[in-house]
Symmetry: C2
Subunit: 395 residues, 2 copies
Amino acid sequence: MEVPPPLVLKRPLFVPSKTLMGPGPSNCSQRVLEAMSNPVLGHLHPECLQIMDEVKEGIKYVFQTLNDATMCISGAGHSGMEAALCNLIEDNDVVLMGISGVWGHRAADMARRYGADVRYVEASFGRALTLDEIRFAFDTHKPRVLFVCQGDSSTGILQRHIRELGEMCRQHDCYLVVDVVASLGGTEFLMDEWKVDVAYTGSQKSLGGPAGITPISFSRRALTHIRQRKSKPKVYYFDVLLIGQYWGCYGTPRIYHHTISSTLLYGLREALTHFCAMGLKSVVQRHVECSARLQLGIEELGLEMFVQREADRLPTVNTIKVPFGIDWKKVADYAMRKYNLEISGGLGPTAEHVFRIGLMGENATLEKVDMVLSILHEAIQSIKLRALKTERSKI
Amino acid sequence: MEVPPPLVLKRPLFVPSKTLMGPGPSNCSQRVLEAMSNPVLGHLHPECLQIMDEVKEGIKYVFQTLNDATMCISGAGHSGMEAALCNLIEDNDVVLMGISGVWGHRAADMARRYGADVRYVEASFGRALTLDEIRFAFDTHKPRVLFVCQGDSSTGILQRHIRELGEMCRQHDCYLVVDVVASLGGTEFLMDEWKVDVAYTGSQKSLGGPAGITPISFSRRALTHIRQRKSKPKVYYFDVLLIGQYWGCYGTPRIYHHTISSTLLYGLREALTHFCAMGLKSVVQRHVECSARLQLGIEELGLEMFVQREADRLPTVNTIKVPFGIDWKKVADYAMRKYNLEISGGLGPTAEHVFRIGLMGENATLEKVDMVLSILHEAIQSIKLRALKTERSKI
């Protein structure tokens, strides 16, 4: 038996250009895209190591941290979640998951596989966790690790009180993991000041970089804990002591850990360069303003935000209730077909119930907000009209 | 405290163009590089899923397999090694590692973290394992998983007899994992015919794609075994039942598993397109011819190959003994400084002892072979001369 070469690869690659206003990835700028067609570098070439150093400095800035153990995991955002949990958890450690959407459940799945004793504190539908809810669960379960998602992109919920959680964890020998995959750049996050132990973010959201390379940072306290583990972290690929050595985090010689993608490094560096040039505060301000305008527009269209309390709304991924009788999929299809615009549906418990509109990086501009509002309106009207016509034709 | 934006990111990105003739990554063609500046696609957009399907067909061809469970892991080559072991191993499973360089030890480190009872069969320095050696160890240890590296890039050793190992494993309820990271495209590999259970390769070697996306395939038999595990695989990110669902391998609806890098998919698709157009046999033939010419040239230069038996030499990564009294680093530096050419030193047990010359993908041409030979010669002569001058100046 011989497997023949596939005919499908005889067709040339064609990639349409879309406006990505779902929960991510967001669009990369032309500058980021062009950077990725630079020639490949070896993973230990001095020029590559220098770019890694520069990327590291950029990450420290966007995380507002001085942590030495700041680096990237060579994988999707989920690999950041894996690395955070894999390094902190030993068998039977109690891990408390703060749940405000699907990502806490995802983290729970990962943590259980690592041998954790997983407990939950779950917000009621469409709300963030209150500090009291978390505190009560914390006192009940006495976790070794507390996980929260600052911005849950499945529900559009912003989890506040991270500063208070940082303090709480310090007082009780617990490590605080904060998922800022969808929130970073769209809302305030001060890793050091808030005493966060591990944070990781998505490169392909507000940062405007390519997917596949995930910034992560570990506090000195977390690192000390990891160095004192009784057993090795269960995954070599996510072992932060080894990855950090390759990233030159510990002042020791660089040792090969894996072959990093220089291509993705170029893209991320360009994205960080642009981000740093604009300045963190101004980027956050812009995302907040865009979301405010979107929320106003949604109200003017007679639609309703999914997250009830304004203060609990994530500026980067905005969830809007699907109006009664409307099929969200038809709306999304309309926007994509007619305008090459991605508007997304819900995920997990919000599936069928919400639209998700991402305002991130390149797409967090007032012009894009007005565009998406106008297209959303047009799409809903058109679908209502079509439904009406179908109804009439039956009479 | 506030962390300021880093000054290093004010400098524009500069990436030098080099000829990468170390153990990998190899150069990407201009066509592959340009593909990667295409706009980003969402990870569930139909166009993205179609590219994944096409990439899957390309991988089946280069692996010579009809396995449904053929996909990519979103990570470096090492993530393929992780995924292979993570899915097959349960606590206390006996795993036999065939060692012909550092990669067997790396796999052993990973497997132990997954709870395996790791045993070894190690080749003597500079030689491949004989079939008898493996058979003896196999009978002694009765492993659940047998791991071999077809081409160990740290030593330049080609491990033959994979067909016989496939047969042996089938007869004894053992699963055969073959690392073809550095060998695929440079030597024959017939996944189905040889009854290999899991194989994974590097995208950035003979395939000519970008690093960071790792083709992998699981036999139907391996998949059945994985479906019958008593416990979930220890890592969500490497769970082949979930990844395969996202890759549309099982005829079930596509479910989000992680955000794939569309950028790397474009690059890999272009690389596979080119590879398939040339044809597997002709690509392998070219790599073999290039290595033969290199070996001849090495002999003519009065140098010696590290791997003694010709049949044990890997065509893609060629190891050459560093002549007595010569510092390999000076030779490599000379080639890089004067010609932007990467020649590499050894790794692990071969460090200091060998040069490693990669002939892979774009760089597996007779012209490149002649170039690297001529530069190697010039570099060694120049360093000898310099040493002589230093010696004389002391007199």
